[in-house]
Symmetry: C2
Subunit: 246 residues, 2 copies
């Protein structure tokens, strides 16, 4: 936990936060914070700041919180992900939040098993806790926005353009001619599509292309869904920042 | 399993392989291969080829194997990794092999717990099985070469230059001025250093810099070791291929 992330219901007034969950335990046991110490905090979907410890007891930590600076920029990468096996998805949530994904759409596909959607790993209480864990690890404040779409075709035909109309849309394809370095990103947001373990079907690929997706080549290796997500997001992220912006 | 990877002791003669482990089960149950079917195979550290099924029984599959083409190029990325928690390392092996790492050096660091080195996850039988699993997933043949170095200073002072003298050496550093796009890789191999969860100490950073490591900036996010490895290798990989080589 490299950041204590605070939510509206942690606050007693504008600046006084009272914590009694694992964040309090972390402050007491790992950070060994005593009264007067200042900690690095963040407001969920907001700014960073500092929290001065007002009191520490076995079950409760009180922090006097001050905002510092403007909120960090919002993530530029959104993800369209064919629903992975629940075991894989469980591990992936925190990593996606840590890498800085803005919006996550979990979608059905031909090679996705129907029962994946019955899993508790796509219940908001479950994934929001994992996402917050990832934000606290990576020191970020923007909680990814998650949507589950159990029908591929209606989503692509009726929602995709509305939600991601101005995004550059990219789909990894070993036969693709372009590499990430061939794209001109400027300041555009990017929607990245990652298929199921068995790949998108030809129909699904064509549907995505009809709605603006362009292929890029990430090499010939066939990666597991979770590795593929982390790999593609990281590769993309490293191309979104041009040298002049360093 | 997207490739059946064969090792010398699988062969009865130059071209006849007999399998009786999980590869045989995969061929029988997942691929449902019958006599006469050809499968995509690879020789460990060698070429790809095809295997024609000669017989399938409950416990054994016989393949007539033919090489096709030259061995794939060797990986260009080597990894110097501060030993992660065993639970994390366990998950990481297959991913490193799948991403295409040539050599993996697990090294001690100030913020690595000593007991990590007592774990079974760094025994060759354990990690080689995981590495082969990653190769079979990603459809690669080059088994990463693994070394465990329990002492940081002697390794850096006595081995690093000898083993990686001509490598471009990179270390991720949020305060680094250069991004990956600022480096000129040409055809050089790259040694990537990934620190422990708590980071390298100043002493360790200086020691690595003395031996040629240059900082690069991967952003301000603090990633878990396994995410950091996958993220940095993938970002690097995407910069090693210039557009003209596509």
């Amino acid at each position: 936990m490299n950041l204590i992330l605070l939510q509206p219901n942690d606050f007693r007034n504008d600046s006084l936060a009272v914590l009694s969950d694992e964040r309090a335990q972390h402050i007491r046991k790992v950070l060994r914070a005593e009264v007067g110490k200042t900690l690095r905090i963040g407001w969920l979907n907001g700014s960073f700041g500092t929290g001065t410890v007002l009191s520490v007891s076995k079950n409760e930590v009180c922090l006097q919180c001050v905002v510092e600076g403007a909120p960090p920029p919002k993530p530029r990468i959104d993800l369209l992900l064919a629903m992975p096996r629940p075991k894989v998805m469980k591990r992936l949530w925190a990593q996606l939040a840590a890498l800085g994904v803005g919006r996550i759409v979990l979608v059905n596909a031909d090679k996705v098993e129907r029962f994946y959607f019955d899993s508790h790993v796509i219940e908001p209480d479950f994934y929001n806790a994992r996402l917050v864990e990832g934000l606290q690890q990576a020191r970020c404040t923007h909680l990814p926005d998650v949507t589950v779409q159990q029908r591929f075709k209606p989503f692509v035909e009726d929602r995709l353009d509305e939600w991601f109309g101005n995004h550059l849309k990219l789909i990894a394809d070993p036969s693709g001619k372009k590499r990430l370095s061939n794209f001109d990103f400027n300041d555009r947001k990017v929607l990245l599509a990652i298929g199921p373990e068995g790949g998108w079907t030809l129909y699904e690929q064509e549907k995505l292309q009809e709605h603006g997706f362009e292929s890029f080549n990430m090499g010939h290796r066939i990666l597991r869904s979770d590795t593929a997500c982390v790999a593609a997001i990281s590769a993309l992220e490293s191309h979104l920042f041009t040298p002049s912006k360093v």
